[in-house]
């Protein structure tokens, strides 16, 4: 993973440009310090990004406890790879493909060992974690997403929650754009059925 993958920055677009510039400059100084071995600087980068990384890991893995480990793994790998970051993008943008990669890699390896989740196409069996249901419908989307088959869940999370395009998802997951669309269709259909039940 490097700077080459074109994914949108994760920053707040409502913030004026000069504030963004200041933040980027501060962030770049922190990156350079961390590249020089300054762990305190790296901790600040971690503090600025941990919640985004944790959210992505939690939704990709569908396992909050595992997401804690994955989040730690993302930052450990980021430290190791930090020398390759040249500041062409926001640190969060550089971190994003790594986050997805760790989430999926770990998921694959752990799935082999633990088989924690049994994929299903039966929407009535989508029985996942326990966040707050939406007030209007009582529908718990986090829970329903976690019960999706992994491939469908990954694409749904990246496309409909994270707002990535099919081209970006195909690059991130190493799949064809058509596969990404098919998985999204599958996920949406299952979730629609869950929403209706």
């Amino acid at each position: 993973m490097g700077d080459g993958l074109a994914v949108p920055a994760l920053g707040d677009r409502s913030i004026p440009n000069h504030v963004h510039d200041d933040r980027r400059a501060t962030e770049w100084r922190l990156v350079q310090d961390a590249q020089g071995g300054d762990l305190a600087a790296f901790e600040r980068l971690y503090r600025d990004n941990e919640r985004r990384v944790f959210a992505v890991c939690m939704r990709l893995s569908a396992d909050p406890a595992l997401a804690e480990e994955l989040t730690q793994e993302v930052f450990i790998r980021a430290w190791r790879k930090l020398g390759s970051f040249r500041g062409q993008s926001a640190f969060s943008s550089w971190l994003y493909p790594l986050t997805v990669n760790v989430g999926l890699t770990e998921r694959r390896s752990r799935r082999r060992r633990l088989a924690r989740i049994v994929p299903t196409d039966d929407a009535t069996t989508l029985e996942p974690p326990t966040p707050a249901p939406t007030p209007e419908t009582g529908f718990d989307l986090e829970k329903a997403m976690a019960g999706l088959p992994p491939g469908a869940r990954h694409v749904f999370v990246l496309h409909d929650v994270e707002g990535r395009t099919h081209d970006e998802i195909a690059a991130l997951l190493g799949i064809a754009v058509g596969t990404s669309k098919a998985q999204l269709h599958r996920a949406r259909k299952l979730l629609r059925e869950a929403l209706a039940s």
Partner: protein, 224 residues
Amino acid sequence: MTCREMDDRLDEWVDDTLPGVERREAEAHLAACTDCRQQEQRLRELLTHAAALPRSVSPPRDLWPGIAESLEGQRAWSWPRFAAWPPALAVAAAVVIALGAVLFGRPSPAPVHTVVIPSPAVSEGARLHPAALEMGSGLVAMETDYQAAANALMEALLERQDEMEPETLASVQQNLAVIDQALAEVHRALEKDPNRPELGRMLVSTHRKRVDVLRKMVRLSTAL
């Protein structure tokens, strides 16, 4: 358009990516079909929920201490890695000297089989300064492989020492000393500038040369 066809195109319809003709057909179908309109509403509701989910979620506990512990552990052994090369080279030099002494029939300061020791810097794996790790992790793996190969060849050579000509053995010693010196220089350069790809290539090429020399010598000794 049938309901099945509408269902197949529902994603593109709500994502507004349906081509012109199909879009008009979908529009007409939805205007006439209550079931499909209900599915469309469900999908839009679902997508609204998804888009409204928080993009940031706090972990239930502070994960930094675990990360810091892991990174401190790495730093403890990664930072002195290059500093550890001189002793590593000293070991390599000792191997060469001991090999030469044995091969030349002089008394060895220690039993030969105890001299062939994997370089600590190599056997400790991917422990590098973070700035060097993008390139360095691959290099460490490569060095480990080459070191293992070199060690195996060294052992094979030592087993055949009595069957080899002194001139041949002198050549082994000389070549390995030159190559180890070159390796030391490449590592010093990498320490100063860990991200120069040409240094990585040079390191690979030097290791390959070292193994090639040893392999040739083993082959030669086997052919004797």
